[in-house]
Symmetry: C2
Subunit: 491 residues, 2 copies
């Protein structure tokens, strides 16, 4: 199967698309820009959801659900929000279909026009803050720490599976606080949670930083982001956490009485990650043979493939295999024993390589004689023969090692592909020849940033947190700069 | 707080609405017919989801995700489906907003009109079967056993929180099979799972049956349903499972090659339950003091309230309370210790009664002296003093007893409110005086069913599975009938 996969060096973008489809993660649907997430892909998303959901709940957040539709007028209430956001979106104008009496075809009933159009949520700040207005009177009602798992729609013109789709799945946290300081702490807490998740579950090293003014979320005072580097040298923003100040509270008139009886606007944050993480996961680790999944998020962690000629052999092997399966399952490891007689072992090997199953165990007749199994790890493609004694401890350690090896590999890749440049010429040269993260001095103005973007398609990915301060000159204008920022071309 | 709750006998419908809002389950949103599910309500829904999800997976199903939008033309492909369904729905006609250059207000961009309108899914058979067409070639590709957790929209004119909302959350299973028999078995398996969940988790007794032709799902050959009885004597359909025959396969041209190499259309089922179950849960068990939640689905199973005058007393009580909390948590019981000093014990008692917390433990200074606690159960409102020794075993048993008592109470209520009638006069009299489930003979025709519905607003809820066969005469037409069917007015 892997033979049909485009090689990364031939066409990275085609490789990605092939892989997402061939590994049964997702496919394009009959509706432009909307994807179907297939069971294998959705199983990874469920693991992502379950892990993050626990992290959110452990930090005091609860889930809730707000409407899919937002009245059009709500978008006008926060001025910068509408400019940055609400333009490309799905608009509901009618609420009924009918049979055309002449053609007998189904048509939109012109009599069922909505008085005010409804927008399918591209993000929910407006509808949520219009709701919070009724929930908040006093400091005793604060903080509100709510998260929502939902679908959202942004009418993207160029779509790519997981990375940019018209409809996508995500979580959006929306919190309300009595003080500026508390809201900032929440914003930072959440970007830290995202970074923890990215590094320890997705096995993707990320840089935590704040966005430049130009790249900030529409309506935010500060946008924190985690930025990851893909194998083609392009950056991918993997999660954002926004300090919204009092902007949405002012837009929806949400005030509270503080302990001293003084009336003030409420402070807000919002933060989210989406099915885009699935794209990051694929692009960060996978290879020309298929997916490479970190064990912690793999739907199947270990597959056992029997190698046999006769049914008698299969019976013996199955007995061993089921025993191993049970031992591994007792350790909380997810195991599949693939004893289908419709496919040969070689076909199965390629299939599970394509699907990124971290560990494959093959058992043949000689293994039965020798009390051994053949263990292959997906990340390095190395095989070795191992005794069946204490196999469960060995596999458990191996899975942990694979998890950390995948991370280390991505970390080393990023290190090798992070460059310091001093001049704009050098910048453009590195960008075109190698890509990667480029650390450069910038004068801090939107004009310079836009000029760079227009001329090179590179953007400021972030200004890292705890960024070392150093004297320098903007690579474009030569004006003074106190720190380097990270540029890259990005997804 | 409970004082503000309308009494059931004064106005059942108002009581329901009051309770849903005051117990923080849900509220109406700024968008007509769409609700906000609040954290406490959503926590119950999450338990419903988790339980059902496990039951689905244990029977071999996987989750996936299909698009929110469905091209309008898809609805025309299955003739009876469009007649029964697609009329009242949200229609997306445009994909962009813009600033009106004259008024500077936000308007829908007339240049961004979709070539074909998109319908926000009211149910997903059409989009899913258009996808399955690409997944199925041979019997080896079958069965497909997929479930989706999603939001759907039906433009209901009269809405009620949870029971009937324009947008609601649900799961929809969509399976594909090689044989008619296998599809029927799947349909029956799923209605059995729903009944199991209703009785053993929701604590609501249900009647399993099939719908009359007139009440069948649009496009189904047979609709199985579970029917529950609410405290006001009205029925509520709590889940449905449809045998779709080959209708959707024919509409979307989904054929497969069977083992003999013969080409045939694929057999289908679909099945779903929704946030409507939240309405059933409230209406089946709750009382004039507030919610009564079955322990298995209660977000908080035990609340501990300290009763104290001084901080010294609170310290002593807190020590005990935290010890009890830990012991209970080790048994997997969810416990809240409410030591807020902003509210008095009496206020807290009323609050947790309103919210249906199954068990309340109060600890006061005398309890510390006597090594006791006061235990109150929400279902019967009974209190008793209990020694702290082995309190965790006692509470564990008590929770199980409450779960079964709530079920038994609902079961007895249904028994008392199920009536056999012989004549149409008697039927109308029972319906108006008592409501409930009415078992009556019916001639099996749509005409008679519609006449009864028009004259009395009662419908055939179901023809029970394994229904006793007996000779009789239709209560309306006097024509011969082989069995009684169940009538009721319904939500």
């Amino acid at each position: 199967m892997a033979k049909d996969l485009t090689k990364r060096e031939d066409n990275y973008s085609q490789w990605y698309n092939d892989l997402v489809i061939k590994a049964d993660l997702a496919e394009n649907s009959a509706v432009r820009g909307c994807m179907v997430i297939k069971p294998y892909g959705y199983a990874i998303w469920e693991k992502i959801q379950a892990t993050l959901d626990k992290m959110f709940k452990d930090t005091g957040h609860s889930n809730a659900y707000f409407p899919l539709f937002i009245p059009k007028s709500f978008f006008s209430k926060e001025a910068s929000h509408v400019d940055g956001f609400a333009k490309e979106c799905a608009v509901v104008t009618h609420y009924r279909l009918k049979n055309d009496p002449i053609t007998n075809k189904i048509i939109v009933d012109p009599d069922a026009k909505l008085e005010e159009e409804l927008i399918v949520r591209p993000t929910s700040e407006t509808i949520i803050w219009s709701t919070y207005k009724n929930w908040i009177q006093s400091y005793r009602d604060l903080p509100i720490l709510i998260n929502q798992w939902a679908n959202v729609v942004r009418w993207e013109m160029r779509t790519r599976l997981f990375l940019r789709t018209a409809e996508f799945l995500w979580q959006e946290g929306h919190t309300a606080h009595a003080t500026r300081q508390e809201a900032i702490e929440e914003t930072e807490q959440m970007i830290n949670i995202y970074a923890d998740f990215a590094e320890n579950w997705l096995a993707i090293p990320v840089i935590k930083g704040v966005k430049s003014e130009n790249e900030r979320f529409a309506g935010a005072l500060e946008t924190y982001a985690i930025e990851a580097l893909m194998q083609d040298g392009k950056a991918l923003q993997a999660g954002t956490s926004h300090f919204l100040g009092q902007n949405f509270a002012k837009a929806f008139d949400v005030k509270f009485t503080d302990k001293e009886g003084k009336l003030d606007y409420v402070w807000a944050t919002s933060w989210g990650v989406s099915t885009r993480l699935m794209g990051a996961l694929v692009m960060a680790h996978s290879d020309d043979n298929g997916l490479v999944l970190p064990p912690k998020l793999a739907p199947i962690q270990v597959v056992i493939v029997p190698i046999y000629k006769s049914n008698d052999q299969l019976d013996l092997i199955a007995e061993k295999a089921n025993h191993v399966k049970k031992q591994l399952e007792q350790k909380g490891i997810t195991v599949k024993f693939d004893d289908r007689d419709t496919h040969k072992p070689g076909w199965k090997f390629a299939e599970y390589e394509l699907k990124g199953v971290p560990v494959r165990i093959a058992i043949g007749p000689r293994d039965i004689e020798n009390n051994t199994v053949e263990v292959s790890r997906r990340d390095t493609l190395q095989k070795e023969t191992h005794s069946l004694d204490n196999i469960e401890d060995y596999i458990e350690k191996l899975l942990a090692e694979i998890q950390s090896n995948i991370y280390q590999k991505a970390f080393d890749f990023r290190k090798e592909n992070t460059f310091k440049v001093e001049t704009y010429e050098e910048f453009k040269q590195v960008l075109d020849s190698k890509g990667g993260f480029i650390e450069a001095h910038w004068d801090g103005t939107v004009e310079t940033e836009l000029k760079i973007k227009e001329e090179t398609k590179a953007t400021i990915r972030c200004i890292p947190l705890n960024n070392p301060q150093e004297e320098g000159k903007c690579m474009v204008t030569g004006k003074p700069s106190k720190q380097r920022v990270i540029f890259a071309r990005a997804y």
